[in-house]
């Protein structure tokens, strides 16, 4: 490893290669910083803000900020933890997330973070927005009720020419991720599976595959999110 540098997370001495994003550098040092929109192999966008940390008095997203020598990062302070919990709660009230009825339950990162933060009931009022379900593609269902606008599908699901299957539509609280009608008709099984896998929640489902793995034996059914990094 070239150019190792030292930095601190909540006072704990850490080391990583210069330029590594904080979230990854933390992981290498056995420290878990929760994320939702971040995904290995994709250019980060800092959209969900769940990985927020504080550096020099400023809030920064640890998925987009590289570590530098001597950096001091505040991550698991009560204030930051409550901030992250607030953001998770905000995502719950601004969509329609009914975990018990969701095909992704147990594999859902939003649900897993809800458990991690011991969210009982969100502090914000539920908005119960009216959202659409698009089932026009022969391969997948795009359920806007559950979408958290993380952009993972937009960035990762492309055809051979590099064209995106998914894109944003509108802005602000009317923002949604939509599937290209024409390309959605020609989606391969592999891409459909990948889209479902890359979706952190249950917004993209491969038709007839929602319960391929039974509830109870899924990723977060046994161990909480982040436990592979930090006990």
């Amino acid at each position: 490893m070239a150019n190792l540098i030292k930095f601190k997370i909540d006072g704990v001495e850490c080391m990583a290669e210069a330029g590594t994003y904080i979230v990854e550098a933390a992981r290498q040092n056995g420290i878990f910083i929760p994320t939702l929109c971040n995904m290995a192999g994709l250019i980060p966008k800092g959209a969900c803000r769940v990985c927020t940390v504080r550096i020099n008095g400023r809030f920064m997203t640890s998925c987009t900020t590289p570590v530098t020598d001597g950096m001091e990062i505040e991550s698991n302070s009560p204030e930051i933890l409550d901030l992250r919990k607030s953001i998770v709660e905000l995502l719950f009230v601004s969509g329609n997330h009914f975990c018990p009825a969701c095909e992704k339950s147990g594999n859902c990162e939003l649900q897993a973070l809800g458990y991690l933060f011991q969210m009982m009931v969100p502090r914000f009022p539920y908005e119960f927005p009216k959202k659409e379900v698009d089932a026009s593609s022969p391969k997948i269902i795009k359920d806007q009720n559950r979408c958290i606008l993380c952009k993972r599908c937009i960035k990762s699901i492309k055809d051979e020419q590099g064209r995106s299957f998914f894109a944003f539509r509108n802005r602000g609280n009317h923002l949604e991720v939509v599937l290209d009608k024409e390309m959605g008709m020609k989606m391969t099984d592999e891409l459909a599976e990948k889209a479902m896998r890359n979706c952190p929640v249950g917004s993209i489902l491969v038709k007839e595959k929602g319960f391929a793995m039974p509830i109870g034996s899924r990723k977060f059914d046994k161990k909480p999110i982040g436990s592979e990094v930090q006990v």
């Binding site: 980060p44 966008k45 800092g46 959209a47 969900c48 803000r49 769940v50 927020t52 809030f59 997203t61 987009t64 900020t65 590289p66 901030l83 607030s86 953001i87 905000l90 995502l91 009230v93 601004s94 502090r123 914000f124 009022p125 908005e127 958290i148 606008l149 055809d159 020419q161 590099g162 064209r163 995106s164 299957f165 998914f166 894109a167 944003f168 539509r169 509108n170 802005r171 602000g172 609280n173 009317h174 923002l175 939509v178 599937l179 290209d180 009608k181 024409e182 390309m183």
Partner: protein
Amino acid sequence: MENAINQIITNYGGRPDRLMDMLIAIQEQFGYISRGAILTLSNELGLSQVDVEQTISFYHFLSTKPRGKYAIYLNNSVVAYMFGRQAIKEAFEKETGITFGQVTPDGLIGLFDTACIGMNDQEPAAIINNKVFTRLTPYRVKEIVQYMRKGLSLDELVNESYGDGKNQHPFLKAMVSSNIRRKGMVLSDQYTMGKVIKEILPKMSPEGVIAEIKHSHIRGRGGAGFPTGFKWEFCRRAKGQKHYVVCNADEGEPGTFKDRVILTEKPELVFEGMAVAGYAIGGDEGILYLRYEYRYMKDYLEWVLQNMREQNLLGENIGGIEGFNFDIRIQFGAGAYVCGEESALLESLEGKRGEPRDKPPFPVEKGYLGQPTIINNVETFATAVRIIENGGEWFTQFGTEDSTGTKILSISGDCMFPGVYEVNWGFNVEDMLNMVGAYDVQAVQVGGPSGTLIAPNEFHRTLGYSDLSTGGSMIIFNKQRNLLKDVVLNFMEFFIDESCGSCSTCRNMPQVLRNKLLKILKGKGVRKDLDDLQAWAKVLQPSRCGLGQTAANPIVSSLKNFRHLYENLLQKDLDFDEGFDLVAAVQDSCNYVGRVPKFHH
């Protein structure tokens, strides 16, 4: 039609990063962007159709549905309402027979709301097919609609005289008034176009220019206040194939209109400032990113640029300096407040949705097309010319120690003389109110909705980066105004409409806060609601850009300085409620089965 679309694509070199220009051209030519146009664009540019649509749907002035032969965009800023916007809206609806958001069945007229169009000193105002109509009255509305029905041309709709100053220029012919009411170094008549480029730059090195700017201690005039000299220095040092100079003329902060006035009255000063910056950072291309609301200035500004080229102030070997090549082109936004944020502006310049970028890297290292770029406000470039002309030392005699020079204020609202005032930094609010003829003042919104709402006990405070920082928007409210209902609520709606939606915080929280405010305004609030507003607003702080970080400011600052207004609306003796209206919740089902809701508490 396909030929026309292909021609437009060719005009912009078939480059996906010029998608915005193409979309604007199509919108203007056809009144909307059709499915066929989207298909052609996606095929020619190698994008999926949803990818093209995501840019269209981001911008207020772009549409996939026809907007009418005459598309009327009526400003909905707070000051527009204060000066009779409601009556204008009703008149338009009465005369056209449609409501806002609709187009008449014959496709002739479309009515749309739009955020502050930079005409706060002459409201109510609307943009009709890129032409600005100011000081509207219900009678004028009736007349305008009648003229439209008769098929009159856009110029024939106007029976007002043109505004003051350069608004009468043959390429401008606008009924807009500049309303310059106080001149300082920037708005001064002392400026001679080209003097700095031809007489001073030849004797200075680029490093010398940067040193002089640094010595002046000028900070960015857009609002954020970053030291300009350092920005230029960082950019000069950054490695890249090309360095860019971008002028941010997206002034979207409600209540700001001084860039409109500078670009109308002193465009040469701004362009010369961009050339000076190009010389300093070693860049040969400048882009003026102009908000679409100011599209009416296009021909005029193009004429100014051409004039400057002819005088060797733009182009090659400018001012006789061997190798100093610099030219400027104008690129337009299409209606998005967030594009005033510099990295969102860059995204927009590259033909994309105006979503702010994560920083680092900063634009001085990786900006337009990934190359080192400086982005400065219109006023900053204009001021830079005066600094190079007179020296950084000269500049520091104006203003205060930490806020040198002058600031151009856009003052509107309840005052006798709304308009543009150039003052030295350090000016206090009380003097300002006396200067503009404002009486019985209840509050002043300093710096627009993202700034602070202050009460009379703070009118002794001064304008400057260490006290009341402002990009220039000053809105005055007299004692008759209902601050919470008419001002704070309007500002919150503005932030909800203008969020790009990328950050979960800014996409959702302003709405949660607005709903809470509505609850209080309905008389349903309890003491806990005020605590919630204060605590929940903090969730916006970790948002990526200034829009999100400040989106709760209308509530936070009014709660701090006008808490009694909230408290007066609360239900007495109630600290807590269940936050849930059971009767309302079961109303639909009760209606359905014909029952009256009855509960035992």
